[in-house]
């Protein structure tokens, strides 16, 4: 995820969406996919290239949970906090993750950023977590430990 921001490549990514302002949310997703977050530099460039104000871009970035404005760790671990997962112990699982990683929700170690998510559609196999873009089901403390260890130390 530690890819350095590059104006030329960012410009290519933005132009893939035809420079259309209505593609703003999609453009931001593409930038997050590449750079992990939306930097001030990215906000300026997106505003210029889509021909909208910086405040507008800022407004959209801050509205959506998906668009973080600081770099995440190597991996992003999201634990589902919604009801079906609560019914199967996601609160305890979250507490376990926090103590194992030594950070609170929204915090990061070098390798893992811990975040909440509200439903992964895996509610029949809860509790569910997602690491980067891979969903896991029926995750207990043991399974989570293994998954976290696989993220590296």
């Amino acid at each position: 995820m530690a890819i350095k921001y590059d104006k030329i490549i960012a410009s290519e990514i933005i132009s893939q969406f035809g420079g259309r302002p209505e593609m703003l949310v999609q453009v931001l997703h593409a930038l997050v996919e590449r750079y992990g977050y939306i930097s001030d530099e990215a906000i300026r460039q997106v505003a210029t290239e889509l021909n909208i104000s910086r405040a507008e871009v800022h407004g959209v970035v801050s509205f959506y949970h998906d668009f973080r404005t600081s770099p995440p760790a190597k991996h992003i671990l999201k634990i589902c906090q919604a009801e079906a997962c609560q019914a199967m112990g996601s609160r305890q699982l979250t507490a376990h993750a926090e103590s194992k990683l030594g950070v609170q929700m929204h915090g990061s170690t070098d390798n893992v950023t811990l975040e909440p998510v509200y439903c992964l559609g895996n509610c029949a196999c809860s509790p569910a977590v997602i690491i980067d873009d891979k969903v896991y089901g029926r995750v207990d403390a043991n399974k989570l430990d293994k998954l976290i260890d696989e993220c590296g130390v």
Binding site: R20, P21, E22, M23, L24, V25, Q26, L28, H29, G59, V60, F63, Y64, H65, D66, F67, A82, E83, A84, C85, Q86, A87, M88, R91, V117, Y118, C119, L120, G121, N122, C123, A124, C125, S126, A128, I130, D133, V135, Y136, G137, R138
Partner: protein, 507 residues
């Protein structure tokens, strides 16, 4: 080639979340095995559910972990051999056999991205009928079927389509709401992963009926696998002339793009979704104007849920009367109920309206996963009331549920056992509203933050009576002063928890 064995291993989020990719990979390396990645049948508790084609049967095994494969191969499962994981022919599994499959009938059965397989199972038959008979006929059929929106509000689909058809406009849009934000729901996902061409067909039919040439699928970002399957299905449809210019020589043009949401629950509300599709923050719009009249980019727009659109092709292929035979009263057809949370046999159950929660939770679901008594059930997502174990005999239809202050919504059923702390659940409802509020109305934005604080004070026994009164007043203010159901219905789970489980607020 004759001794090739076909094995189905789902490429579906739940199955994959439990190791289906590894199982598929290992099986593909076995000589003479042809692995097909199907969707899920919806019996999620059996995932990964692997099927082996033996003669005319598909013999099911599950749940299969990669570590089970050696013993399965040894037991001769490639010829349907006996094994503790063997479930017999897929068609005989009671959970599936006792359903009434309509919208989901191809889910699990076919290779989701194969046009040939789709067409071998009535795929595009509904669209061809539509092309043959014309838009008026389609509108009539959808009205006659009694189909109502499956996204939550239950609005009659035919009337919505008629409004868009009747509104003048050079450009109209079909938007598919695939934001599926309610906890406990995954039927949209199952359909998009298991039979995406069905959704595509439904959207084309809608476009043809109302005169729209462009469709969008607004897909939640929490569904990365769904996005991959949908993208492949759209490509396959385009490559075979079922999407794009002059579809199959009909003279009708229609194309579909996928837009990914930003992880915001309110963006499932239709006007917020339209804002988001326009690239903006998902702030709710005032209604009127209705999206049907001034929707996406101000143009007449159909907004329908995935399951609503996915029910259309078969209605067209088999006839509206056939669909209307299912159900009770004004709740026609089938609903994909989803059993989630603390449930032994979680998954999707498509049944005609009118069965009871108890039948679903006990007969299909087998009770709780933990084996403890059911204490609370939340139906209809995070804005749905909490029901007690005594309220499970209410028949599931829109009207009967509304009468007892509940809602069926998108059909999600989340079960909790007797270890649940209902004060914590009430607190979470307020907290979720505070996190997800679009910010437009004060009662929702501020009220929910206050709600969390007040519940905390009640639980810690600070001025209990005053604070309970305060919480009730707060709920009234939110119900009366909110523009949409986010603020307007958050009080339902809160109040029902307080009323039905007062002891949890007084420990």
């Amino acid at each position: 080639m004759s001794n090739q064995v076909t094995v189905f291993v789902p490429r579906e989020t739940s199955a994959v979340s439990l190791g289906a990719h590894d199982v598929a990979e290992k099986l593909a390396a076995v000589e003479n095995v042809n692995v097909v990645r199907n969707g899920s049948w919806g019996a999620s508790w059996l995932e990964p559910l692997v099927e082996v084609v033996v003669g005319d049967d598909r013999i099911a095994y599950g749940p299969v972990e990669v570590g089970d494969l050696d013993s399965l191969l040894e037991a001769g499962f490639l010829t349907g051999g006996k094994h503790p994981l063997c479930l017999g022919p897929i068609s005989e599994i009671p959970y599936l056999k006792n359903q009434e499959r309509w919208t989901f009938w191809r889910c699990g059965l076919i290779d989701p991205i194969s046009i040939a397989d789709f067409q071998a199972h009535k795929g595009f038959a509904g669209l061809q009928k539509a092309f043959e008979k014309g838009p008026e006929y389609v509108l009539d059929q959808i009205k006659t079927s009694g189909l109502r929106g499956r996204g939550g509000a239950g609005f009659p689909t035919g009337i919505k389509w008629q409004t868009v058809a009747d509104t003048e406009g050079e450009q109209k849009y079909i938007t598919c709401n695939a934001d599926e934000g309610d906890s406990g729901t995954f039927s949209d996902r199952l359909l998009m992963e298991g039979d995406p061409l069905n959704l595509i067909e439904g959207m084309i039919i809608a476009g043809f009926a109302v005169g729209a040439s462009k469709g969008y699928i607004y897909l939640r970002s929490e569904y990365p696998l769904t996005r991959r399957v949908l993208t492949k299905a759209l490509l396959a449809a385009r490559d075979s002339g079922w999407l794009g210019q002059d579809i199959q020589g009909s003279g009708f043009d229609f194309d579909i793009d996928i837009h990914i949401g930003g992880g915001s629950y309110v963006c499932g509300e239709e006007t917020a979704m339209l804002e988001s599709l326009e690239g903006k923050a998902g702030v709710i719009r005032y209604k009127p104007p209705l999206p049907a009249i001034e929707g996406l980019f101000g143009k007449p727009t159909v907004v329908n849920n995935v399951v609503t659109l996915g029910s259309v092709p078969l209605i067209m292929a088999l006839g509206a009367e056939k669909y209307a035979e299912f159900g009770v009263g004004r709740s026609k057809g089938t609903l994909a109920f989803q059993l989630a949370g603390n449930i032994k046999r979680g998954g999707m159950v498509e049944k005609a309206f009118g069965l009871t929660l108890r039948e679903l939770i006990e007969d299909f679901g087998g009770g709780t996963a933990t084996g403890r008594p059911v204490r609370a059930v939340q139906v209809g997502g995070p804005l749905g009331a909490y029901l007690t174990a005594e309220q499970l005999d209410t028949p599931l239809d829109y009207e009967a549920f509304a009468e007892m202050g509940g809602m069926i919504g998108h059909g999600g059923i989340v079960v909790f056992d007797d270890t649940v702390d209902m004060a914590a659940q009430a607190r979470f409802a307020m907290e979720f509203c505070a996190i997800e509020s679009c910010g437009k109305c004060t009662p929702c934005r501020i009220g929910s933050v206050r709600g969390v604080e007040v519940i905390d004070r009640i639980v810690s026994n600070e001025d209990r009576e005053e604070n309970i009164t305060l919480l009730n007043d707060l709920c009234d203010t939110m119900i009366d002063g909110s523009l949409c159901a986010m603020g307007g219905m958050t009080p339902f789970p809160v109040r029902s928890a307080l009323e039905s489980f007062p002891e949890d607020f007084n420990k």
